[in-house]
Structure formats: structure tokens, C-alpha cells
Symmetry: C2
Subunit: 208 residues, 2 copies
DNA sequence: AGCTGTATACCCCGTATGATGTATTTTAAA
DNA sequence: TTTAAAATACATCATACGGGGTATACAGCT
């Protein structure tokens, strides 16, 4: 099963990089690279009709950027894997790319041999990324700190499920008055004035 | 700066694995492994007082598991990096570990040479993980599908910021009546009856 | 012994909210 | 070109909600 050929497409506006990548990839055993596009528009128009397994996508493209292109193409062709290949390594680019459907995120200074390895990895269901980039993603999982007490967290969770004062009170065997007091305290601790904002903040800070 | 020695601690209940790892790591140039613990409790008691850079943590430990141990230790010693070293690769274990503060997640069948490389990576601010595990993490970023219109999304975002009918109406130059109608439609599309649940669902599905 | 935080419980009050309707216009797809 | 979806707007009504208070009891910390 490792003998299968991986069919690749490149989307990259820089003529030289595009040509170089194309030659390297198409010349390597087990790889085929017959398609290269200089912009998002032509890629979006053509790729859905091509027998492609993996797309190498630059982020900085002339009109429409590579993240948008990935979003549209991934919607049309969910089985194609996308690897972002870019100079940008800021958090926003990384997360947007992943949300758009990218399966890998590599920097352009990755050497050709590693690139081939990474393309194989994606093709076999992996997600290659430098360990520096992996760290940024992992850091997004951490909880900063939790000002809420256990009781308050419990109540906030129930509120996020759509329960009202009375229902929450019944659920946790408390007086509705007490629940109200807890909610007031939650608002004050999170510096918000209503339920909507409280839940938003709590989720963003991974409190619930 | 690559000449610095990485000080390692191991937490692993299996006697043989612990000894083997200990010998390999301590015998390698640039690495020092003087501490090995068979359970979470002893590790939690000792590690805060030891000069340790990286901890290799097994998940399956006798009483308290490795994820809990990581959570407690990371809280006490934020500068120590934790690598989970385990046979389990289920989604829950991965995400819980990362939320608990782990910086890497490797399977036990990782060969010793790679393990050394990965420890170096963590020490230098990276996050090593197999590309299979990376893929699972990345998949958690994807959006399933968005039933909301642009206008509705816009309004829901404003609601999550804590704005009320009137404020939203002003913000988007609409009649409060219209905003109310949009909100009704949002609730119906998300199958909820109130703001709290709507925001909770919307965030969980990455709609806002 | 005093302080702080948490958990519990109650009161009043004005208003924002959600449910249930009707209705027109614009836009996009079939 | 008809149809459907989206966006716009308004009315009524019971009630859930948030802000303002006050109060007791118990925990841990200093």
C-alpha cells in the first residue's frame, strides 16, 4: 500500500518556487505533480475536476488568499488533503488555516526531502507540522486560571444548557434565590452583566 | 546553546520500562535522567523540588493517573515541560492531556533515538507528536456546517458580547423588531429556546 | 480572634426577553 | 419565471432576568 503514487497540485504565485517545486515533486519516485496554479481562482476552478490527493497551498496569493481557497476547495473536495506551505507562522494564519480545513502547516524553508516525507504523511492520514507550530496549537488548549468556585461552574454549565433560574435550582436542589445569588457572583467575577456574555467568556477561557 | 544538558524525570509504573528508559536517557550525551517514579503520588511530592526540565509521563498509573499528575505538577511548576508517553491514543486522552498542560504526546513504541530528538524539541520550545495524533487535534478545529445566514451570525456575535435587542439594533442599523425576528430564526435553526443555549451551541460548533 | 471567600436564602422593582402572531421586500436558486 | 429563503418591520403578553439590597453559617487563613 506504500507503492501507491501520490498525486499533487501546487498553488503558488511565485513563478520560480512553483517551477522548482513542480520539478522536484514530479521527479521523485512515488510522487506525481502535474498541476500547478499561480492563483486561487484558477486552482478553485480546476482542482475539483482533477485526480489530486494532496494540494500544497501558499497563503500569500495575489487576489484571494490561500486560506480562502482552501476553505472553498475543502468544501467541494473533502477527500483532498491540504498542506499550507508558507513563510507566515503567526497564530492567526495557523488557526485560520486549520479551521479552513488544512491538514498540515509547513514553513517554506522546509527542505525538499522532508517535504516529500510530510506529503506522504498527509496522504497516510497524518498531519505534519513543525514542532514549533504544534506547540502554538497545543498552547491554545491551556486554561489560564479559573476564578469560579465549583458551585458557580456547575451552575454556569447548567445555564449554558439553556436552563432558567428555577430549573437550575431544581437540578442542584437549591432555592431559586440562592441560584440567583450565585449567578450574580459569577457575573461579577467574569466582569459581565448578563448570561450571554458570561457564557461566551467562560467558554473562551475554557471554564465550562 | 545546544550544549546544555536536558534534565529528565520519568513517571512510569512498569519496572522494566522505567529502568530501560532511565538507562538509555541517562547514558545519552546531552541528557541526564536521575529521577524515576513508579506512581503519580511520589512524582507530585518530589518533582517540584528537583532540577528537572522535562518529565516523561505515563498515563496508566496505579492510583492517580498521569493526566491528573500532569495537571497538578504543571500548576506548581509551569516551566517544566511534560511529554505523555503512552499506549493510549484515543481522542479523550489526547485532549485531556493537552488541557492538563502536556507539551507533547508520544506513543510508547517510539524508538529511543526519536525519543531523544523529541525531548530536545520540547526543551527547545517545540511540541513533538506523531503526525497521526496531530491530525486528530487538527480535526477538532473543523467546522461541520453553518445553518446561519451572515446577518444572523453577525447578530449572534453581538449577543455573545452581551448586547441586548436595542443595542444590537443600533449597532447594525435595524429596527429592534427586526433584530427580534432574526433572533427567533436563530433559535429555531439551532433548536434552542434562549440566548444562553444559542451561544453555547454556536461556539461549540464554531459558528461564532 | 478576625478576616475573607463560599454557600446558602430572601425581598423589591423595572425592563429585557421569548412566544406567537402577521406582513412586505429583496435576493437567489430552480 | 415561479419559488423559496433571507431580510426587513410591527404588535401583544406573561415572565424571566438583572440590579439593588440584606442576612446567616461555615470554611480556611493569619
Amino acid at each position: 500500500m506504500d507503492r501507491e503514487i501520490v498525486h499533487i497540485a501546487i498553488v503558488e504565485d511565485d513563478h520560480e518556487i512553483r517551477q522548482t517545486l513542480n520539478l522536484i515533486l514530479d521527479g521523485s519516485k512515488g510522487f506525481s505533480c502535474k498541476y500547478a496554479f499561480p492563483d486561487a481562482e484558477s486552482a478553485i476552478a480546476s482542482i475539483p475536476n482533477l485526480p489530486v490527493d494532496v494540494v500544497l497551498m501558499d497563503i500569500d496569493l495575489p487576489h484571494k488568499n490561500g486560506i480562502e481557497a482552501t476553505r472553498e476547495l475543502k468544501r467541494k473536495c473533502p477527500s483532498i488533503d491540504f498542506i499550507m506551505l508558507t513563510v507566515q507562522s503567526d497564530d492567526d494564519s495557523i488557526f485560520e488555516s486549520l479551521c479552513a480545513g488544512a491538514s498540515g502547516y509547513l514553513l517554506k524553508d522546509t527542505n525538499p526531502v522532508d517535504l516529500l516525507v510530510h506529503i506522504k504523511e498527509v496522504f497516510n492520514g497524518g498531519s505534519p507540522m513543525s514542532s514549533q507550530i504544534a506547540r502554538r496549537i497545543i498552547n491554545s488548549f491551556r486554561i489560564i486560571d479559573n476564578p469560579l468556585s465549583e458551585r458557580e461552574t456547575e451552575i454556569l454549565k447548567l445555564l449554558s444548557q439553556g436552563l432558567n433560574y428555577k430549573d437550575v435550582a431544581q437540578e442542584v436542589f437549591l432555592s431559586p434565590h440562592t441560584v440567583k445569588t450565585h449567578i450574580k457572583n459569577i457575573y461579577s467575577k467574569l466582569h459581565v452583566n448578563n448570561r450571554a456574555e458570561a457564557i461566551y467568556k467562560a467558554i473562551k477561557q475554557k471554564l465550562i
